[in-house]
């Protein structure tokens, strides 16, 4: 296999708070190949969004800080770039789509200016041409009558339409990588299906890779090639999507799958919740972050941190007992 498009190595991002240092992302490593969709799954506080923001160096410092690691994009370490260097990457080679389109669009600027800006900025295209391109992009994300809507403001669009505008902005410079952080969580289910299908289709067209951050196991199953499951700031399992769903090798992943009702599930079978609460990142135990909620945790799990090891080819688990789960 050739070198991956993105290679994150031992990334740790911390926040200083009144309650002490919070290790939001703790020694995380993963790769994204060109054209691939990697889903990062986790609950609130698992570190999935901070991972995404760290890649583009969007962590507010202070209180946040990327403490260690490498983020190799096309062989270059993004953490070593100066401000101009990272700005040349953002919105150009790596684009981001946020959860809440209303707060990520500028309410005082027309949609045309916002979609055209990355083209004007990165491609040094004159504004007249950039706006032509913006109209074309709006058509691509199926906003009817794109040209006449260039002059509209975000509030004149519906939630789904705004997210389409975000996608148009993200695609403007044909990025190699799109990071979509819960892109459809604020949307209704029929609109979610439209937006995700559109994203998938357009990334396929441009052969862009995508990091899809979500808490929804259904969305992952429908759209991801590979999955990384995060818990307590760490990746606890990563595998090709089919493998992960077929035979999860971490008790947290397995617990998640049993606790979520499915549209095709057996309604007579009660849901099996994961007892307890997600961990407090300021007071993580020394061992496995999931040990407190794990039915099968042993003394070793509580004191020693399990490394992420290859349980079977391409399938990694951070559980001492991953082999037992395979049975």
């Amino acid at each position: 296999m050739s070198a991956p498009l993105l290679s994150v190595r031992n990334l740790s991002t911390r926040f200083r708070t009144e309650r002490g240092t919070v290790r939001a992302v703790d020694n995380v490593s993963f790769d994204v190949a060109a054209g691939e969709t990697l889903a990062i799954v986790g609950e609130s506080g698992s570190g999935k969004s901070v991972t995404a923001l760290s890649i583009l160096r969007l962590i507010p410092d202070p209180p946040g800080r990327i403490e260690q690691g490498e983020i190799l994009f096309d062989g270059k370490d993004l953490l070593k770039l100066d401000d101009a260097g990272i700005r040349a990457i953002r919105g150009n080679r790596i684009a981001m789509i946020f959860q809440e389109p209303m707060s990520s669009l500028n309410p005082a600027l027309t949609v045309g200016l916002q979609v055209g800006e990355p083209i004007n900025l990165h491609r040094k295209t004159a504004w007249a041409k950039a706006l032509d391109k913006a109209a074309e992009l709006l058509g691509k994300v199926r906003i009817p009558d794109g040209r006449s809507r260039l002059g509209s403001y975000p509030h004149q669009y519906s939630g789904g339409m705004r997210q389409r505008v975000m996608i148009a902005m993200a695609l403007a410079c044909q990025p190699n990588l799109i990071i979509a952080d819960e892109p459809t969580t604020a949307l209704d289910v029929t609109v979610q299906a439209q937006i995700l299908a559109l994203l998938k289709e357009l990334t396929r067209e441009t052969n862009s890779a995508m990091i899809l951050i979500t808490h929804d196991l259904g969305v992952v199953a429908r759209y991801a090639d590979r999955v990384a499951v995060m818990y307590g700031g760490r990746i606890v399992e990563t595998a090709p999507a089919r493998r992960l769903y077929k035979s999860p090798r971490h008790p947290y992943t397995r617990g998640l799958m049993l606790s979520v009702p499915r549209l095709d599930g057996d309604t007579e079978r009660p849901l099996v919740p994961i007892e307890g609460q997600p961990p407090d990142l300021a007071t993580l135990p020394p061992g496995c972050a999931f040990a407190l909620r794990c039915k099968d945790a042993t003394e070793r799990c509580r004191v020693e941190r399990p490394p992420l090891v290859e349980s079977e080819p391409n399938h990694f688990s951070a559980c001492f007992y991953h082999d037992r789960l395979a049975a």
Partner: protein
């Protein structure tokens, strides 16, 4: 409507909740009407869970609030245990309110941060004059906390000391304080993390079995609704478009909107997802200020016909007891 259950706790007939849109500061004049709920009928049997599903803006939450008379009803009737409460004033609603309670979506916004858990859970008892005997009152609060899986010694703490799942349990304990018959649950698990949702869903089901509660479970998550409901009503733009038992609705949805909703929900299994045809409907829910003429869904319906654009399809009861409002099924 679907064949009325024999002993309905709740019967809603042709309920309308319209909100006037006014313009002007001194000389207010009405410039439009939002028909948030526009002719909704359903009933819920004792001990049953009716799921109320639909996308944002379909009127499901407004329906819940109107049933509790927390919003003014424009027209139609709400019968609770055989009693028409739609014209009741505050005083007459008071004893009824004890029997029908609400569980809210947001476990952060719905608990007073300055009140101790004991006072939050016990407040309904105080309001209804059931707190005179302090010992009994304290014992009841402890019981309620235990019932929802919290420890009695948590009573002296404040809401911020609890996680989202625990706060939702506090909200449920408060709703149960007056031994209600009917709980209206408005998106009670959607603000919770996925690993916590199952805990609360299971709690709802256990409480129903133990206390014989009747639920109206309002939610947008079709998988959760399927798990908890006996029957389901699907709403679109202020109307119910289909009511059926769980198995009927999920195995064989009749209304094109129900079909579209179900097709849009991804299933957590990549191998099943590959095989599923993805019929994605276009567009978004139109404004309730100007609902489309005829069938309200016709602007997005893949099977819309000539008649759908002008004639509003009536709710039609089918032989198997389900009901659907669609011209494809009125023939």
């Amino acid at each position: 409507m679907t064949a009325s259950p024999p002993d309905p706790v709740l019967a809603v007939r042709d309920l309308k909740v319209h909100f006037p849109i006014t313009s002007g500061v001194v000389m207010k004049r009405q410039v439009g009407t939002v028909k948030a709920v526009d002719g909704v009928s359903f009933s819920v049997a004792r001990g049953e869970t009716l799921g109320l599903v639909g996308e944002s803006g379909c009127g499901k939450s407004t329906t819940g609030l109107a049933v509790l008379r927390m919003l003014d009803i424009t027209s139609g009737t709400v019968e609770f245990e055989g009693e028409d409460i739609s014209g009741y004033d505050r005083a007459r609603m008071r004893p009824i309110r004890a029997k029908m309670q609400m569980v809210y979506q947001d476990p952060y916004g719905s608990l007073n941060p300055r009140m101790k858990v004991a006072d939050i859970v016990g407040e309904p008892l105080v309001v209804h004059g059931l707190a005179d005997d302090r010992d009994k009152y304290r014992a009841r609060v402890a019981d309620l906390l235990k019932m929802v899986g919290l420890l009695p010694d948590m009573a002296e703490r404040y809401p911020h000391e609890f996680s989202g799942g625990q706060r939702q349990r506090i909200g449920i304990a408060r709703a149960l304080a007056l031994e209600p018959t009917l709980l209206i649950c408005d998106e009670p698990v959607s603000a919770l993390d996925v690993s916590i949702q199952a805990q609360v869903v299971n709690l709802f089901m256990e409480l129903q079995e133990r206390l014989g509660l009747t639920y109206v479970f309002i939610a947008h998550d079709l998988s959760v609704v399927r798990h908890i409901s006996d029957r389901i009503a699907v709403m679109y733009l202020g109307r119910i478009v289909e009511v059926a038992t769980r198995d009927q609705l999920y195995k064989d949805p009749l209304h094109p909107y129900t079909q579209a909703l179900l097709a849009a929900v991804p299933i957590a299994d990549p191998e099943i997802e590959v095989q599923r045809g993805q019929q994605i409907i276009m567009g978004e829910i139109p404004s309730a200020l100007r609902p489309p003429p005829g069938c309200r869904f016709h602007t997005r319906c893949p099977q819309a016909m000539e008649v759908c654009m002008s004639v509003d399809p009536p709710m039609k009861e089918m032989a198997d007891g389900r009901a659907v409002a669609c011209h494809l099924h009125t023939g």
